[in-house]
């Protein structure tokens, strides 16, 4: 026991002598800047083109979307000028601080300790200092605020589908040729592929109507009405119009609804940072089959293959489903009014014809808003093609699952 006590004493004594410092990141010259919107507790996501810091080449010269940024302060001076190149504006900020140095060791050299951070100048709508000590890693020192944009309506596209036996929905991407509003000639989202759109409401009226033009040629409309309150909430922002009590008055989508948050409160107030106010639903397409392209690596193994398709067509429609595209899989609709469909896949060097037979079931109502829809199963090849194999998932599901594999050497 006595020996053990002495051993522990000398171990502790030895450990206390191991005082060589860690040379990594000695300077605490990182300042954390968080982007916020006045009147919101949520952080703001800002698109940044770049950041310049006086005394250095461009610190950051890339396009990112961020809620905050950590920047190095010039520890050789007691001030640092920062220029933020944001989408839509260029903002500047001057930070002051005390920089002191301390020799650390022969191996590590010296370190700089920064303290007493001050916000000397800025041209953001507002800013405040929340922590006067810069850090060795990203922390929150400065919060910059912008005025809210309170008239933006956020709409999300969602696809209805069946999970197990339960009907639900998920984000669904759409291809738009444009969106028109009834109060402006501006075409929003021209030729855009998106799952969410942010549209201004008419602050001169109590209602707005939007017409969505899809790349497929389809068209749909949504009309909303709301209550306007015009007031000066923030001195820096002047008089603004705030929108509340949003309601859908008309919608020609398969379905549309006001979003209800996890707190069970309907999103009837337009907020900034924006959050979805309306969900626009699409009924599931029940006749989609998915083909995967694979290449054999041995007699028993294969891997995903990328193929270049000049076109993909079917015998029941003139629509070209895919053209001049490199893919690893394709999703194509079978003829919903028949029990057989023949697809033609045109590659750069050959053409492949795949004929499919299937069972078409009596239409069933999956979602009331969608009405009765046919279901398809028992997929088989109409003509046996050597390099084509039907998978065990031989019924068409929504969202589509892999039904068939096409092998190329």
């Amino acid at each position: 026991m006595k020996k053990a006590t002495w051993c522990i004493f000398f171990l502790l004594l030895g450990a206390s002598c191991l005082d060589e410092p860690d040379c990594y990141q000695l300077n605490n010259n990182l300042v954390g800047i968080t982007f916020r919107v006045m009147g919101s507790t949520r952080v703001d996501t800002v698109a940044i083109w770049g950041v310049d810091i006086l005394g250095s080449d461009s610190i950051f010269n890339d396009t990112i979307r961020a809620t905050g940024i950590a920047l190095p302060l010039n520890y050789t001076r007691d001030e640092t000028d920062i220029t933020f190149r944001l989408v839509g504006s260029t903002n500047t900020m001057k930070l002051g601080y005390q920089s002191r140095t301390q020799f650390v060791s022969e191996d590590c050299g010296s370190r700089y300790e920064l303290s007493d951070l001050e916000l000397l100048e800025y041209n953001f709508d507002s800013a405040r200092l929340v922590n006067t000590r810069p850090g060795k890693s990203a922390s929150n020192n400065v919060e910059v605020f912008r005025c809210p944009v309170p008239n933006i309506l956020t709409l999300s596209f969602r696809d209805l589908y069946v999970s197990g036996t339960k009907g639900t929905s998920k984000f669904g991407g759409v291809v738009l040729s444009g969106i028109n509003a009834d109060f402006t000639g501006t075409v929003f989202y021209p030729d855009a592929r998106t799952a969410t759109v942010y549209l201004p409401v008419n602050v001169a009226a109590d209602q707005s109507t939007y017409t969505f033009h899809f790349a497929s040629g389809k068209q749909a409309q949504v009309a909303v009405n709301y209550t306007r309150t015009t007031e000066e909430r923030y001195a820096q922002c002047g008089t603004q119009t705030f929108i509340t009590e949003l309601a859908i008055t008309d919608a020609s989508f398969d379905s549309a609804s006001i979003v209800v948050g996890s707190d069970k409160i309907a999103k009837t107030t337009l907020l900034d940072p924006h959050e979805a106010n309306l969900y626009l639903y699409s009924c599931p397409q029940t006749n989609l089959a998915k083909f995967n392209f694979r290449t054999r690596t041995s007699s028993t193994a294969s891997r995903t293959d990328t193929v270049f398709l000049k076109s993909v067509t079917a015998d029941y429609t003139a629509t070209i489903f895919y053209s001049d595209v490199a893919v690893t899989s394709i999703t194509v609709p079978v003829n919903p009014d028949a029990t057989t469909t023949t697809f033609t896949l045109e590659y750069t060097d050959k053409t492949e014809v795949i004929s499919l037979n299937y069972t078409r079931h009596t239409p069933t109502t999956l979602f009331n808003v969608c009405g009765p829809q046919p279901l398809f199963s028992d997929l088989v090849e109409g003509t046996d093609v050597e390099n084509v194999a039907i998978l065990k998932t031989d019924s068409l599901q929504f969202p589509a699952v892999s039904n068939l594999e096409i092998y190329h050497n």
Partner: protein
Amino acid sequence: MRSIIINISFLLLLPSVLVAQQDTASVRNFEKYIPTGVRFGTDVFALIRTGYDNSFDGWELNADIDFDRFYLTVDNGYWARDFEGSGNVYSNQGAYFRAGVDVNFLNKDPDKNMFFLGARYGVSLFSEDLVIDTVDPVWGTFTTSYSNTGLRGTWFELTTGVRVKVWKVIWVGYTARFKFGLSTNDNGDMIPHDVPGYGRADKDSEWGFNYQVFFRLPVRKQ
């Protein structure tokens, strides 16, 4: 009447006799606190280290005087350090003083051997110089010089050690020190790195060790 006068005289003298007896005991009690000798010594460790460590130059003188089991102890030293590496040249120099009390747990030992625990208060007066050549990927290449003069550091120590008589008037021993509570008066662009007498300024506590040789000058017989 005569006997009354004698009795009164006796009563008047009695307190004087009692006081005289008490004084004799107090004197005997007080005498043990009269120092028996003064020891002067030096830290051999510092002298050896000065010889082999190119980054260190220093010496330390020690003295103590006994008041029964309590020893008033004072130290005076000097150290200078030079470091060069990673584009940095650092040097410091300064004098330091310590004063405190040791409690000897071998008080009955006729050879004045000691095993002691004690406490010290240390003061260091020093200066520092630093030249930095920095190559920074963001801020470029630059050379900066810093100088700290008129610095003062204070700290506390808990000590333990032994003193063993090896020959007539010569004692040897060691002192181990746990140093803590450093406070410096720096407020310039440079934060102290090394405080003479204490050690690394960025550490909340430091250990120290002296191997000492003492010469004892007796001032009275015990």
